[in-house]
Symmetry: D2
Subunit: 284 residues, 4 copies
C-alpha cells in the first residue's frame, strides 16, 4: 500500500484591492479582500517538484488587480465570477477555482445634509461576502454577510430544555439575545442576478426578522430568519447560518442591596454558544 497525494488546492489569499470609480466627480469606492484558490491536476508540483503547470499565486494576485480595472467591480459577485473564469482558462491543469471576495462598506461623509462626493467613513464591522466556485459544471454563487452584530434587549427566552446531572442553568424568561451573524445564501442561477439589490434585500430581511420575532432560542430565530429570506426570494436555494450566542449574563447585585431587573449585564467573551443551521428548499 503506497502513499499518494490527495485533495489539494492553492492560490493567493487576501489581496486588498481598492477600486475607485471616478468617471464623474462623484466617486465610488469598492474596498475588497480577494482570495483565489485553483484546484486540478497539480500532482507534479508536489511529487516531482515540477512547477510547469502551476500559475503562480503572484499571477493570481496580478489578475485580481488588473481585473478590478479591466472588468470593474459592479458587484463582488460579478467580479469574482470574471476572476474565477479567467484563472481556470489561464491554467490548463485547473479543473476549478474558488473565489472569495469580502467587501467593506463605506458611507459618504455627511456635509451640509448631503453625502460628500469623494470623502467616506467606514460603515462598521459587517462585511459583505461573495463566494464563487467555477467548475466544468458551471459556476455556483453564494452571497453572504459576516460580522453583523445584533442584539435584542427583550423578547427572548430559553426554557424547557433537556436536563442532566451537569445542568445548572435555570430557565430564562427574559434575556438578552445577541450574536455576530454569519450568513450565506446560494443563488439558483449562477449569473445574471442583480446581486447588489439582492444583497440589500436579504440583509434588510435578516435584520427585520431578528427584530420583530419572539425568540424561544437562537435556533428558532435563525430558522425564522432563513424562512423569511427563502419565502421572499424565490431565486435562492438555501441559506446557511453560523451564529455565536454572545452571552450577556445578568449581574447579581443583591450583595450590595441593589435590585437588577434586567438592567445590568456582563458581556462575556468566552465561552460562547455556537449555533449552525441551514434552511433550504424542500425538493421532495
Amino acid at each position: 500500500m503506497g502513499i499518494r497525494l490527495g485533495a489539494n488546492r492553492y492560490g493567493k489569499a487576501e489581496s486588498r484591492v481598492v477600486r475607485i470609480v471616478r468617471d464623474t466627480p462623484r466617486h465610488e469606492i469598492r474596498d475588497l479582500n480577494v482570495t483565489t484558490l485553483l484546484r486540478g491536476d497539480f500532482e507534479a508540483a508536489h511529487v516531482d517538484g515540477d512547477q510547469a503547470a502551476v500559475l503562480p499565486t503572484d499571477t493570481q494576485k496580478n489578475t485580481a488587480f488588473a481585473y478590478a480595472k479591466q472588468r470593474g467591480v459592479d458587484s463582488a459577485e460579478d467580479y469574482a465570477l470574471a476572476l474565477g473564469q479567467r484563472l481556470v482558462a489561464a491554467t490548463p491543469a485547473a479543473t476549478g477555482c474558488w473565489v472569495r471576495v469580502e467587501q467593506y462598506a463605506w458611507d459618504r461623509i455627511p456635509v451640509g445634509g448631503a453625502g460628500h462626493d469623494h470623502a467616506f467613513v467606514r460603515r462598521g464591522s459587517e462585511v459583505r461576502t461573495a463566494e464563487v466556485d467555477v467548475s466544468e459544471a458551471g459556476p455556483t454563487v453564494r452571497s453572504g454577510i459576516t460580522d453583523l452584530v445584533v442584539l435584542k434587549s427583550t423578547g427572548s427566552e430559553f426554557k424547557g430544555f433537556l436536563r442532566d446531572e451537569y445542568t445548572t442553568l435555570p430557565d430564562a424568561d427574559d434575556r438578552i439575545l445577541a450574536t455576530s451573524l454569519t450568513a450565506s445564501w446560494r443563488h439558483a442561477d449562477g449569473d445574471g442576478a442583480d446581486w447588489n439589490a439582492s444583497y440589500d434585500e436579504v440583509r434588510a430581511l435578516l435584520l427585520e426578522t431578528f427584530a420583530t420575532t419572539y425568540s424561544r432560542a437562537l435556533q428558532e430565530t435563525l430558522w425564522l430568519m432563513g424562512r423569511a429570506v427563502l419565502e421572499q426570494r424565490p431565486d435562492l436555494v438555501d441559506i446557511a447560518f453560523s451564529a455565536p450566542n454572545k452571552h450577556h449574563h445578568l449581574v447579581d447585585l443583591s450583595a450590595f442591596g441593589v435590585d437588577n431587573p434586567g438592567e445590568v449585564f456582563v458581556a462575556a467573551d468566552r465561552p460562547y454558544g455556537l449555533i449552525e443551521a441551514t434552511v433550504t428548499r424542500d425538493e421532495s
Copy 2:
C-alpha cells in the same frame, strides 16, 4: 544607593458593562468597556506584601457594575466621574484614580421605516472614549473617539518634501488619504457639560473638516480638524490626534497594457505612516 519603589498604579481593566435602560418599552443600551486604575501610597503592598491598603481589583469591578445601576450611565463621562470619585473615597491610601470608558455605538434596527424599540445593530468600528482623572486638584475629563476610519479618494497631495540619499518617494499630486483616527479633547471644566451633545458636535466637525479641506499632508489635515474643533467649542482646551497614514499604493498595471489613472490601489497593512499632533489654545 538603595533600591526603591517608583511610580505605580493598579486596577481592573476591561470590565464589559452593558446597561439596558428599560423604564419604557423603548429601551436604550449603553455598551461599555471600563478600566479603573488607583494610585497613591501602596508601597507596603509591594515591599512588605501587606495588602491592608489595597482595595481589590475585584471590588473595583463590582463597583463598576453596581454604579451602572445606582448612578446610571447618562454619558460615559458622567459615569466615569462617579466611578473614579467613589474609588478614591473608598481607598484611604489612594491619591488619585484614572478611569477609561470605551463606548460601543448601536443603532436601532429599522423596521417599516422606524427604529425598533428593543432591537439593535452595532454601528461600526468607531468607539467613543472618556478618560477621567480624579485627584486632589479636582477631576480632568478627556472625551474622545478611536478607530474612526475615513478615506478621501482625491483632494490630497504630498510633495515638496525634504530629500536625502535614501529618498525614493516621488511627489504625489493626487493620492488617496486614509486614516483610522484616534482623537481626544480636554474639557476646561471637569463637570457640568452636556457630554453627549459635545461629542456629537466634535465628531461631526472632524468628519466635515476631513471631507471639505484640501490636504497637503496628513499633518495639515489634522491641524485643520483640530483648529475647527477649538474654534467651534470654546469649552475645549486642546485636542490630540494619533493618525496612522493607511497607505493605498497605486498599482502599476502597465506591464499588462492597462492604464491606471488613480483607479486601482492596494491597501497596505504595514508599515504605515504615523502622525501625532496636538492642537491647543495659546495661553500666552
Copy 3:
C-alpha cells in the same frame, strides 16, 4: 415546494479549561480551549421553538470542566473522546458530537539548571489540536498542530512555472521559505493510541523534514513532510496541510548603492500564498 431545516449543529465554543495535576509537588498543567458541537434531530428546537430535546450549551460547558477532574486529561485526545461520548449519551436526540480541543504548551521555568516544580512559561505560538467525532459508526480522531511558524533562509527555489500575460514574477533560485503550518492527521484506530508520544514524533518529523529537504515549491515541501510522517507512522491514515506562504520579499537597495545578496527582506502581511494539500495512503 416547501422550506425545511437542513444540516444543523450546536454547542459551546472555547471553554478555557485549565487542569493542574498536583498529586505530587511536581505539578503538571493542561491548558485547553474546548469546543463541543452536537448534531441529531433538533428540528423542534428550530421549527417549533421547543427545547425539550436540547442539552444546553451551558451544560456542555459544565461537563467539559467536570470531566477535566473526573476523567482527567491524560491527553487532549483521550479527554475529547470521553467528553464527546458523554454528550451523545446524555442527549437522546443526538446522533453525533464533534469535539475540538486546542492545547497550549508550557515549559517549566529553568532554575539552577532544572525545571521548576510549579512555575511555567508559555512555549510559543504553536498549538496542539485534537478533533474527535463521535457517531454511531464509532469515533474518529484527528490529531494536529497549528501556528507552527517555520522559516528556512536558503535551500528554496521557485521556478519553471506557468506564465500568462499577467505574470511578472521572475524565477527565484534562492529565496526564504516561511510558513505558519497547520497540519492534522487521522488515526486508523479511534482509541488506544499513545497520543502524546505520537504527537511528539509527528511534530519532530515535520520540523526535521522541513529543515533537511530542498524545496522546489511549498507544495513539494508539504508532500515530503506528509510522506515522511506516513512512512514513519503506519497507524496514521492521512495528513492534511494548510500552509500560508509567508512571503519575504528581497528589498531592492540598489538606489542607495547597496548590494543585497539575500540579506535584507521585508516580511509581508498580505496577500499571502495559500497551499492546501492532503497526503494519504493509496488504498487501491
Copy 4:
C-alpha cells in the same frame, strides 16, 4: 487667545525588517518590527502645508532597510541607535528621534541532536524590545521584553486586603498566579553595553525570581523581580512593569458532587487585573 500647534511627531511604524546573516553556512536571523518617530520644528508642515522640512516616512522606512545591511543588526539596541542618529542628522528641523524595535526570537530546528544551519522555528510569543531616544542631550536606551507569559500553580496568595461594601472577594490562600509580562529597563550608559548578554541575564532573572519567590500579591512579585534585576545589574537605572493579572478562577463543581481542591480552573479573558510598577535606584 489664539490656537496653536502643540506637541507633535511623525514617522513610519512597523516596518518588518528581516536580516539574514549568511557570511558562513550557519545563517543567523534578525526578525524585527521597526518604528521611528521624528520630533522638532515641523510647524510649517501642519499650519502652512509646507513639507520642505519633512523627511518622508517612506524615507525613514528605506533607511531602516538600508541600515539593516549597512550597519547590520548586532543587537536591536545598536541598530536602533544607529537608525535614530541617522534620521536626526538627515533632518535639520529634527530635535529628536524615538525608535522602537521589536525582535522576534527564532530557534534552530533540531536535527539529529543539533540545531540546523538555516532552518528555524519561532520561539513563542515573547518579544524583545529596544526603545532608543536620540536628542541633543544624548541617547537613552530602554531594553525590554513583552508578552512573556508565565504562570505558577501554587505559591501565591491574596488576602488581608481592604474591604468596602462592594467587596465580595474572599481571601485566597493558594491560587494560580499568571501574567503576560511587559518589562523595560533603562541603561545608565547610552552606548557600549553588551546588549544581548544583558538581555539574556535580565530575562533569566525575571523568570527565576517569579518561580522561586512566594507571592502575596502580583505587586510584591513585581517588586521582587525588579529588585533582583537592579541588584544584579548595576548598569541599570530602573525597571518598569506592566502586568495583567490573568485570572484563573477555581470552578465550583460541588453541584455535581465533585471536589475541586485547586485542580480545575477557568482561564478568564476579561476583565483582568492590571498592575503597573517601576522599581528604581534611590538617588537620595
